[in-house]
């Protein structure tokens, strides 16, 4: 099936098998490997992207469901002037070690901050419950999200 998805501001069209997951479309068809696959069961959130501005685990969606949608991946987050404030905050606060969860965590955090202003640490923890990190114990991730939301 042909799908047409706006990815990081650019319209991308491809002929995909109907069963193709959005994450495989992004990684294998478009070469956007910043979005990681961690679990195959929609548990870990490493594949989180923005679909029409809201965070979505890209392994829970078919590519054809994203037809006509506006998708932002980690590669599309930085602007002309450099890293997005959320990316900068993760780097600054040591909110990553191995970094495998980071792209998904950053995308989930961007969506969270966009949706809820004025969050406290508990709110950030609740909002990021669907994204696993095995390295950091989450403390610096919470710090980074709070720093970026100021």
């Amino acid at each position: 099936m042909e799908v047409s998805v706006t990815v990081n501001g650019e319209v991308r069209t491809a002929d995909v098998e109907p069963r193709t997951l959005l994450v495989h479309f992004l990684r294998d068809d478009l070469g956007l490997t910043g979005t990681n696959i961690g679990c195959d069961t929609s548990s870990c959130g490493a594949c989180t992207v923005l679909v029409d501005g809201r965070s979505a685990k890209s392994c829970t969606m078919l590519a054809v469901q994203a037809d006509g949608a506006d998708v932002t991946t980690i590669e599309g987050l930085a602007g002309e002037d450099g890293l997005h404030p959320m990316q900068e905050a993760f780097h600054e606060c040591h909110a990553l070690q191995c970094g495998y969860c980071t792209p998904g965590m950053v995308m989930a955090a961007v969506s969270l901050v966009d949706e809820y202003s004025d969050m406290d640490a508990d709110g950030v923890r609740e909002g990021l419950e669907g994204n696993l990190c095995r390295c950091t114990g989450y403390q610096n991730i919470v710090k980074a999200v709070l720093a970026a939301s100021e």
Binding site: T33, N36, G38, T73, H91, H94, Q97, C98, Y100, N140
Partner: protein, 759 residues
Amino acid sequence: MTDTRVAARTGTAPRIGESARRPDGAPKTSGSFAFSSDLWHDRMLWGGTLRSPHPSARIRSIQIGAAVAVTGVHAVLLHDDVPGQKEFGLEHRDQPVLAGDIVRYEGEPVAIVAADHPEAVRMALEAIVVDYEVLAPAVDPMTVEEVEPIHPDGNLIRRIHLRHGDQDVVGDVQVEGTYEVAMQDQAFLGPESGMAVPADDGSIDLYVATQWLHSDRDQVADCLGLEPGSVRLTLAGVGGAFGAREDLSLHVHLCMLAQHTDRPVKMVYSREESFHGHVHRHPAQMWYRHHATSDGTLVRVEARLVLDGGAYASSSSAVIANATCFAAGPYRVPSADIDGAVVRTNNPPCGAMRGFGAVQTCYAHEAQMDKLAEALGMNPIELRLHNALEPGDELLTGQTITGTAPVAEVIRSCAEHPSAAAIALDPMELPGGAGRTAGPEDVVRGEAFALGFKNLLFSEGFDDSSEAACRLEGGVATITSACAEVGQGFVTVAQQITREVLGVEEVVMAPATTATVGSAGSTSASRQTWMSGGAVKEACEKVRVQLLERVAAQQGADVSDLVLVDGRIVSLAGGLDIDLAEATAEPVEADVVFRHAQTWPLDDDGQGNAHVSFAFSAHRAIVDVDTGLGLVKVVELTTSQDVGRILNPMQVVGQLEGGAAQGVGLAVMEEVLVVDGRIRNASFTDYLVPTALDMPPVEIAALIEQAEPGAPFGAKGIGEPPSISSTAAVAAAIRVATGLDLPRVPVRPTDIVFPEGEA
């Protein structure tokens, strides 16, 4: 004379002791960092593995005809196709690359396939017909030594019967207990993946996420029947490790397929396959008896430890050594009888995981210390302080602690740290969160303390070294080391060390590969800051000396008058001031192999100077428990740790927080469920790891700094202790809250709701 020696730094890049940011932080946050799963080659094939569905079976025959006939399939390879040595292994080469006539665990690789599309790989794997004669698996570690050997090497992997001091000692007070630790998974987030690329001359390049490049390289070369130099192993981006990448997984498979097809081959495990594809933390069954005088002085500890090594040895020998040597915890114990055995079963193979061996026994010895305190009517903190090891004390192995051991400081600072834990008012903060049924009045709180320790670096006479090279050219330093950066932050610390020694701003980390430098050893056992950090430090120091000597000769100056400061070479007497970039237009290079102090094997009684150094940590946990549903909420976790010297405060704290999370996981939720040799929960839906809601903030009470002799800058490794005492503390707090024995971790809801005998 000028004051150059104390001149204010002009450079801004952080050095030792500062919270330098990760050099890979920008690529990792921007998505451009290439993990091993991101590797791509235009001509590449995809690889896949057929695994045994049985924990124990004889293979009568394997039919591959239908698989070979699948469109797009380029290779289907079996045991006989392994070109060199058929077995691999970290300590013992006892694990088949591909099963021969027998399979010994569920998930053991039987055949491998390469095809031009993952779908074709899947179809080919399904088309392979294996005729198994299913055998009854030997899965009980307590009896497996008495049954028919399941492997030519026998069912006992290693036994250490440690006897220390007078064996006839009996204490006024004795406490006894049996304890069990379940199988934990490292659960790194990036499943196993890699790519092999064959070269025209018969050599091969392997790009893979690993913890120990040269050990992998050597094992791969042996299995391929190649010289080690014909296998070039390059570290690909690592999505976490925690011990699970110390053994080979897909390495030889990838190379075999690439050689056979003469094409690059890529392989990526699914999460389910990953659970079968790497070793886990050893489950342990432990019996203890502690003896003390009535004033609380420990006089003897007896223990029987049985660790389930699963089907193959992996690093089991080192794990049981740690479990046995540190079985009694960081206390003065003049008499001990510790019988530690690690056995072979048809369960999944077990090996390295953060704190290996010490995690299991810490949970048991700390439960015993609490039990002893209760029997003595003594405060548990006081009991620990009373018996705490000090420098100059003997360990169970008879080894005297010659380095630092600030055990009392660790205990006091953690125990005395004020708690900020409030009573939960928001229902979301109660155990169970949104899914709770208990009101605040049905929730009980418990607070407890645990202390742990472990050896740093490799032990028992292992010839442990790390090589590093430094090249200073045009004022830029390039560091070459095969140290595996797995997330721990070695790349940050190596840059800091280089800047500290050479006064440079820019430090480039060359790729970690076996092609350019000798072994850095394993990224495990909390050893890389010490070992590879030490190698980098010495290489840089050598470069500094060579450079100053060269400049002295060129300028007719006295070398002892020259110093290297902030990118300049200046003479203390004045008159000479050369820009470093200029002075190193012609490069200066040095290469060193760093070794730690020698250790010796344990003797027949488990005695000997087997270890280099030790690190100590304490945790205090506060938990809320809904006793109706058996739900636990870890409310607060406070820690103190003996760190030697801090090289990067932010990274140290990051390790303490992350390591504690894995300890919390083992205490309350993480267990690989193995029933009759089969893993029943090989997914993140069923194997639970702590989320942001499960983890409380980790409060750092104190980082105890006492420079460790022999360690570069006095810094101890800090990665493992956070995972050692955290589990014990959380379990103990649940005990305090519920009044139950809780002799097993993880503590399951049913353990609380239906304690033994009441179900």
